[in-house]
Symmetry: C2
DNA sequence: AGCCCTGAAATTGTATCCAACGAGGCGAAA
DNA sequence: TTTCGCCTCGTTGGATACAATTTCAGGGCT
């Protein structure tokens, strides 16, 4: 192909770009579960060789996004509703613990940034929920950032990483897109409560709100399907 | 090079063999944290090319065993004592929850296999703790299997995988080798209690024992360093 | 003396080529 | 007609060749 530097964003390895792009496509639902992934096809699509594509796929497999079977191929991992519920349950366990720690350890910066993110989400209240695809995706990104900020405020990197891994494979964007406006507003309200619990340094409250928040989301999801 | 099938164990990809071997060397402490990993060196040691070695390293990085920095190289990940403590704390959280679930959901097979593993560990009571390297490693493997069995009995695959990941990077063999005979016997006793809790289907008891078991191990470790 | 610049060596990242394996189709025999 | 076996093809796994980047030593400059 001989196009050494196709993308302007320098410094990024081709393998990383491929990884990120495929990941986004899976999380965003553009690549359906069960769909086959062929190295040569992707290589051509990215104007790269199979080598970095392969590297990206190995990483995706390690992160639980795809299933690789030797000499046979790679498919987007399928998850049953039960597995998705499990993911939410473990997230509830980890993130509620993190929220409790965060209530004890947060500093002013944490609170400021959470407020900022919350304002961003509230600003999206007026968007047309079914039509505005990009808007929904932005809200979802803010939601993820909010959760990550609380994980960071727990000051426990291991806890944060374990939870973040589950958030990723939880296909958040996809699930968020399915949320109704009502669910979204409940979510906003619970985030507000979370901030309040952190402000007043109340670990038990923060923990309970986070658990309720995540298990509630799980149930909304389960009810739809 | 040109030695297409060096190892008799067929069916295994070269990349998998390299992955497993490096992983064992890191977990076993034969590769020290901070040590540099050079692809070409490993490739020669395994009589392979750099391609499968590189694939293995990417996986190891994904699993948190090594740090890859672009164009610079790969080093065995260093963990501070604080990080190791964190790992044990999150393990305590996940595995105690799993133990509680296991107490409710276990069947007779689970109990039988746990008994079997426990007998195996008890049989090692007579080994010379400082001299018998292989013996210690076997005990460590049995211990890991015991914990994995309880995770499996929780019937929550997500929970089990999250915990297993942390067990792996906890460098169990290494830590176990540092355990004194006294620690080992305390461990045996707690495993017995765990089985009793599962037999009597007592989730709260199982949960508490597991939490105490893991946090105790963390403290023994912290006290040494 | 200390610092920066430069260049060569070492090492990683990517491309291409070859080998091995699995999937599916076709044909022959029961 | 159905089923077993073989064969071809497509795809992945691995080897080798090449390009790009970092690192570090050494020399010149401030």
């Amino acid at each position: 192909m001989a196009s050494p530097k196709q993308d302007g964003r320098a410094g990024l390895r081709m393998a990383d770009r491929v990884y990120e792009e495929i990941r986004r496509e899976i999380v965003g639902g553009r690549l359906a579960p069960g769909e086959k992934i062929t190295e040569a096809v992707l290589a051509e699509r990215f104007g790269a060789s199979r080598t970095p594509v392969r590297s990206a796929i190995v990483r995706l497999a390690g992160d639980g996004f795809v299933d690789m079977t030797p000499h046979s191929g790679t498919v987007v991992k399928h998850r049953t509703q039960g597995e998705v519920s499990e993911i939410y349950e473990v997230r509830a366990l980890l993130e509620s613990t993190a929220a409790g720690l965060a209530a004890q350890r947060r500093d002013q910066r944490d609170l400021d940034e959470l407020e900022e993110l919350q304002r961003g989400m509230e600003a999206a209240s007026g968007l047309s929920w079914e039509a505005d695809e990009a808007g929904v995706e932005r809200v979802s990104a803010l939601n993820q950032a909010f959760h990550r900020r609380i994980l960071a405020a727990s000051r426990n990197v291991t806890l944060a990483e374990s939870a973040a891994r589950l958030m990723n494979i939880g296909f958040l964007i996809n699930t968020y897109a399915r949320f109704s406006r009502q669910e979204f507003e409940r979510s906003l309200f619970e985030h507000r409560q979370l901030i309040a619990a952190l402000v007043s340094r109340d670990p038990a409250w923060a923990e309970a709100v986070m658990r309720a928040h995540i298990l509630g989301a799980r149930n909304s999801l389960a009810a739809e399907q």
